[in-house]
């Protein structure tokens, strides 16, 4: 009894679909907008033009879940860098229901998931294919037979000028190797959006300037004539300690100028940043980095100095103590450990408040 009623329903559904022929029940539209910070927003609208209710697999309405846009730059496919999930077969809860005439609208930032850093004409189409796209069994069977369980939109086009710099800062740095997502030797992984890439490049330039300032301080002083700027963060100077400070900042400055630094934007935790000291020169940026100012105490520039100092091939520093007050006490109690503490290097370079 139960079986036969299900069977009847399924026949009815197939008939209902056939009556509508191949004409898609769902209408998909994509609009694209470029923002002044370099990001690109795509607005997806899926409308049910069918008489009855339609169900769409929710994964296929979310860029954070699936590769839902097909993007080309000057006709060449742009690589998708977002996640791919291996999933079990969908259940009823994985579908979004759309009543007749109802539509669903969502906006997604594209540059975090597709490499859109180069200049060119970008064509963006919503395009998904899956046998699980619809939950209507009739539709599914028909789609299986015709091999077309897909949903496609119009193509929206946009011209982007690209993030490649206006010349100047590139000092012939080698690329990180392999990754195509690099600007002047600085590379990006973990889905950095265009605006994040721009902010990182700017923070790195700020880090370069405070590192240069630290190096020139150390070049114009010696252990016998250090000032409060040095003693506040590194304590009593001996010539061995002073030379360690100098070597450390020269190495940090060299990393910024000449080494292939990679920034990763995938961390969503509350930290500023983290690194694996044994894996130069990859720096993982987290939420507090994005909330920080470019310059000043615990700034973006200072965080980059801090993180680079950790790499064993740079200065091999540790986190002995955190924060300004901790670093100041350490300078007094244990100057050797201050020269081994990443925050002490950061605060010396940030020099905020300004000490002579």
């Amino acid at each position: 009894m139960k079986f036969s009623s299900k069977f009847l329903l399924s026949i009815f559904a197939t008939l209902a679909f056939s009556a509508n022929a191949i004409k898609p029940a769902l209408d998909v539209n994509v609009d694209v907008e470029t923002l002044t910070n370099g990001d690109v927003n795509a607005t997806l609208t899926i409308t049910n033009n069918h008489k009855g209710q339609q169900k769409v697999l929710s994964w296929y309405t979310d860029l954070a879940e699936e590769h839902i846009f097909h993007i080309t730059r000057d006709g060449v496919e742009v690589q998708y860098m977002g996640p791919h999930y291996k999933r079990p077969a969908p259940t009823e809860n994985d579908y979004i229901k759309l009543k007749s005439g109802q539509s669903l609208t969502k906006t997604f930032e594209l540059t975090a998931n597709y490499d859109m850093s180069e200049a060119g004409q970008y064509d963006i189409t919503y395009d998904v294919k899956s046998l699980h796209l619809y939950s209507n069994p009739g539709q599914l069977k028909k789609a299986e037979r015709l091999n077309l369980a897909s949903l496609t939109s119009n193509t929206a086009s946009v011209y982007l000028e690209g993030l490649l710099t206006k010349g100047g800062t590139n000092k012939g740095k080698p690329d990180g190797g392999g990754s195509s997502d690099c600007i002047d030797g600085t590379c990006f992984t973990g889905r950095c959006s265009n605006s994040q890439q721009t902010e990182i490049i700017s923070a790195l330039a700020a880090a370069d300037s405070i590192a240069n300032n630290a190096v020139s301080y150390l070049n114009s002083h010696s252990a016998s004539n250090v000032t409060t700027r040095y003693t506040t963060w590194f304590g009593n100077a001996t010539s061995a300690r002073f030379n360690t400070a100098k070597a450390n900042f020269e190495a940090i400055d060299d990393a910024i100028d000449n080494q292939p630094v990679t920034f990763d934007c995938s961390c969503k935790k509350t930290y500023f940043a983290y690194v694996y000291p044994s894996q130069p020169y990859k720096v993982y940026l987290c939420r507090a980095f994005w909330n920080a100012n470019e310059l000043g105490t615990d700034s973006r520039a200072g965080t980059i100095i801090h993180e680079l100092s950790h790499f064993n091939v740079v200065a091999g520093t540790d986190d002995v103590v955190y924060g300004q007050s901790g670093a100041k006490s350490l300078a007094i109690s244990d100057p050797d450990q201050a020269l081994n503490n990443a925050d002490s290097h950061e605060y010396f370079a940030e020099n905020t408040p300004n000490l002579n």
Partner: protein
């Protein structure tokens, strides 16, 4: 006094008899905490190389210890200095985090005369192979919050311990 000495010897004897352990006790240069690290002297690489860290509140009051940079939070920083028989220091393979301000959950409450301990697998952060190693705790600054809200800082300066790793 005699009783206490007996108790120490008895405890020491049990430790030695039940498993061969190397214990390094901190020199009490402070009033609040005492740290220890210990590990079985002979360990097999295939079973993980386990080291236990123990911190004891030797004061008469309850306190809160910031877990940052201590073994109690696991490998979030370079915790140990490990040198092989050639005196070469092993590189730390784990991450180091730059954090914001500590939150309540970053503190661990230790009641008076109580202790907290954690056992870590050194292979999670260092590439030890067969051989002899000397291990010491890196001298991080521990931040202690006392009941009245006052803050005290302390470093645990411990002698190193030796282990032998069998392939």
């Amino acid at each position: 006094m005699d009783e206490r000495f007996k108790a120490y010897w008895f405890t020491g004897l049990i430790v030695i008899l039940s498993f061969i352990t190397f214990i390094a006790m901190s020199t009490p240069t402070h009033r609040y905490l005492q740290c220890e690290i210990f590990a079985e002297h002979h360990q097999q690489n295939s079973h993980g190389i386990m080291l236990t860290y123990k911190v004891t509140n030797t004061s008469a009051q309850s306190l809160k210890l910031l877990s940052w940079y201590t073994p109690l939070e696991g490998f979030m920083s370079n915790l140990f200095e490990i040198t092989d028989s050639q005196g070469k220091q092993l590189a730390y393979q784990g991450p180091m985090f730059k954090r914001v301000q500590p939150l309540e959950e970053d503190f661990i409450v230790i009641e008076a005369n109580n202790s907290r301990s954690i056992t870590l697998n050194l292979l999670d952060a260092y590439s030890l192979t067969a051989g002899h190693y000397q291990i010491s705790l890196r001298p991080k600054v521990m931040q202690i919050e006392l009941a009245q809200g006052s803050i005290s800082k302390q470093q645990c300066l411990l002698p190193s311990i030796n282990i032998t790793v069998d392939a």
